[in-house]
Symmetry: C2
Subunit: 494 residues, 2 copies
């Protein structure tokens, strides 16, 4: 062993593990303290970082302070600050102390629970937590382990949809024959997240067999069961096979809710797999007052939601429940010799590798478990309610200024609004005007929102609910919006 370097390199030496971690905690604590003062949207230009970086990895170790200094000087300015209380873009990604602690445990223990035997507690805790979450959402027993269904934690909704779609596909192809893969059809609405389209393409559904069925403002952008039925009839008449329908609770553009009951009956009639994407609004459904949006879930085959959005769980975490876990496992399981073990062969245990794409898996359940226990269901409900109240407050402010209008009725904490067209004040058409308004707001650095277009109408999306957003930030946002709207009203000639 003489070839070993004399000075032992010890990457888990305990004093430096604790000491350097303290330094990063102080760094993060400063970050949270200061984040409100940073421009919310990064103002860098493409390629900014490359200039400040070496083209090559360093040969020798660098001090942590030096690295953190670089984060401060070169990384922070390039971040759009999702944890800023003035971040109202996309959907929020809630950080929290409990989420962070849970992630520390996951990362520190660094066990890999691909099957039961590889680290039993990771599987067993996931089973416990998924049943807890399912009960908080009042999912029917059939979705819970305690009711012969079950759930699994994925990294993203895209992955959850991809896996359920593969399960549905393989189940169908077993009946109709593998060569019919080109005839399978997937349904959603024109408001369904692009995750569905992507997943469909990934599992080999022909892009021409993807049906984003039109919705309209008159129905609050909800998918009409009748339209689905008609589309399926047409596909059947053309020799195609309806396979999979995705309903959304809380669409990305407008927070719309598809009617699960009606869609469930259609799905049943046509024998298609019905998945519910509640990525954003699923978190709200732990409150009794929002739970009615999930009525009809008993008619669905699977449902997923992202605790990494509105549930105080740092990235990443997506909960997926299914009734027919067998189909999922049949589609995703592999049984290589090197993983064979008595526990799996006994069929007494769950091997989560057969419920997801990857073999490797992080101990995400401990994160969600810490969040739920550290905060408790009552606080988690109030967390959602607070954001909904803030959204109502913002709506109230909009109502005080007749230049603005809310474009779609708000259900959760997402407000879609815009400046109304008004030729006597503005030269621009309404889309251009609102695009300018959004750019002005975001360029100010004082807040950040994103946009959507529904039925040709451009609108600003104000997604309320970062962990640190308070009433004063809503007031500040409103002042900023009014200020920028005032400036747009000045004569301009482009």
């Amino acid at each position: 062993m003489d070839s070993l370097p004399t000075e032992i390199f010890n990457p888990l030496e305990l004093d430096s593990f604790v000491g350097e971690s303290h330094a990063v905690l102080d760094f993060l604590s400063d970050y949270y303290k200061d984040v409100e003062s940073y421009p919310v949207q990064s103002q860098v230009i493409p390629g900014y970082l490359k200039k400040g970086c070496s083209d090559y990895a360093p040969d020798s170790p660098e001090h942590l302070e030096f690295i953190l200094d670089d984060v401060r000087k070169n990384i922070i300015p390039g971040l759009t600050h999702w944890q800023s209380p003035n971040f109202f873009g996309y959907f929020q990604a809630n950080a929290s102390t409990a989420g962070f602690l849970g992630e520390m445990l996951c990362t520190g223990l660094n066990v890999v629970g691909f099957n039961w035997i590889s680290s039993p507690a990771t599987t067993e805790l996931e089973i416990v937590v998924m049943d807890w979450m399912g009960q908080m959402l009042k999912l029917p027993q059939a979705f819970l382990f305690s009711g012969n269904g079950g759930g699994v934690i994925h990294g993203s909704t895209c992955e959850a949809i991809l896996c359920t779609l593969a399960a549905a596909r393989d189940k169908a192809l077993k009946d109709i024959g593998e060569d019919k893969i080109t005839k399978l059809v997937v349904y959603g609405s024109d408001q369904t997240h692009s995750a569905l389209q992507k997943a469909a393409k990934l599992v080999g559904i022909s892009p021409s067999n993807f049906r984003p069925i039109a919705t309209s403002s008159s129905a609050d952008f909800a998918l009409s069961p009748n339209d689905v039925r008609m589309t399926m009839e047409q596909d059947l008449a053309n020799g195609l096979f309806p396979l999979f329908l995705c309903a959304t609770i809380g669409t990305t553009a407008t927070g719309a809710v598809d009617p699960l009951m009606g869609l469930g009956l259609v799905a049943r009639d046509y024998g298609v797999w019905l998945h519910v994407d509640a990525a954003y609004a699923g978190s709200a459904c732990i409150c009794p007052e929002f739970r009615p949006y999930l009525d009809g879930v008993e008619l669905c085959d699977s449902i997923s939601m992202n605790p990494h959005k509105w549930f105080l769980t740092n990235m990443d975490c997506c909960c997926l429940w299914l009734k027919d876990t067998r189909s999922l496992i049949e589609s995703l399981s592999t049984n290589p010799e090197f993983l064979k073990n008595k526990a799996s062969e006994s069929n007494d245990v769950v091997d989560f590798k057969d419920w997801q794409i990857a073999l490797s898996r992080r101990f995400r359940s401990i994160k969600l478990w810490v969040v739920i226990r550290r905060y408790g269901v009552a606080n988690l409900r109030n967390h959602v309610r607070k954001d909904v109240e803030l959204a109502k407050h913002f709506e109230g402010l909009l109502a005080t200024d007749c230049r603005f209008e809310v474009v779609v009725p708000r259900k959760f904490a997402l407000v879609g609004f815009h400046l109304k067209s008004n030729p006597s004040i503005y030269n621009d058409d309404v889309s251009k005007l609102n695009r300018k308004l959004l750019e002005a707001v975001n360029a100010s650095g004082r807040a950040f929102m994103t946009h959507a277009v529904v039925e040709g109408t451009y609108m600003l999306r104000c997604a309320i609910g970062t962990t640190m957003t308070e009433e004063r930030h809503i007031e500040g946002l409103w002042k900023l919006i009014q200020e920028k709207a005032d400036l747009l009203a000045l004569p301009n000639d482009d």
Copy 2:
């Protein structure tokens, strides 16, 4: 706003963020200190955790100490300790201080870099780090951003293979027509990781079109280019279309290395996409003495490796490079209105959502960046070399006891060995005997290994290289193995 609870719930209050994080750090520090004393493989029985857990999520918050106490009492005993220096199973999952610090930054900042605009630094740092890693591996320029290729960080090799396979599939189907999906064929060896088979199934390749080509001990379990060629010829003769070939550098069972040069020429002749899975041994290839195993990579289309195995990067992290990034993007991109932005439209930026399955993505590059900078390339090389030296040492110990033999020649830090059959000492056949040996070792709690079967031969896999494994652990393992072998030699009558 009167409906807000009077006592404000503040999940990112700074004092408790820092204070509670310190408590978790102390917990983890104690864990690392004690981990050597825990039984490496968990000794719990299926269902153990449920008994100690409430069936319902708590309504009220719980104290952190109480939760950590529960981790200590109920979770730790259910873990198989991947960070124990006596863990020699599967492939190691290296935790390190720098990996942990990087993950803290990722989790704490909690930004979501799905496209450039959503947080520019996340994309730009990934570009920098992927080029660094590519240079450390001496990948041809064509795989680097600086050479018009590029790389992306995925969560797992399974995901990386799935995405490259989808890209290859869509590129092929554009030429031969979508309905030919049922004719596409995917090739690997019988040693290729099950990730390939699973990815092939997921993207809609017929299971009957998956070709795990046989290898043999006479060729050290490497895939023979000639055999691949013959198989492809046969498939062509049967009207099928060879699509994708996966070569492995460091197979899971034995650490075998497929010949990239020879396979590259075959891939070129048949126009198939050649992917290199270097999940485990890719890390070793940063050392000049191991880099020859990658010779021929210039003939390949894509290559992936997992820093979360042997590269001191806590889970999860998989680097994937491609020459033809266009095909990947064409296959995976979606362009929903709510994500449209000037930067993306300018085509001046990278939008990593189009290089992976999920929309959401964690800031994994900062983790890998901290690992590389905090340790430096020289230490990272020595880290690999140390483990290889330990593996050589273990081989040396095996050679001192004529009851044992090494089953496959060692290339990296994985040693495959077994007790030789010897009717004068043992009643059992060689497989049963070695299964008993492995069970006895693992049941002792003093070390943990896993197994493989090659050409019908059962062997024990000793994968050396957890972060804390030192020479004394190898000595201890050897003593344990000998002790258990002695006990097996006693007359037994089952």
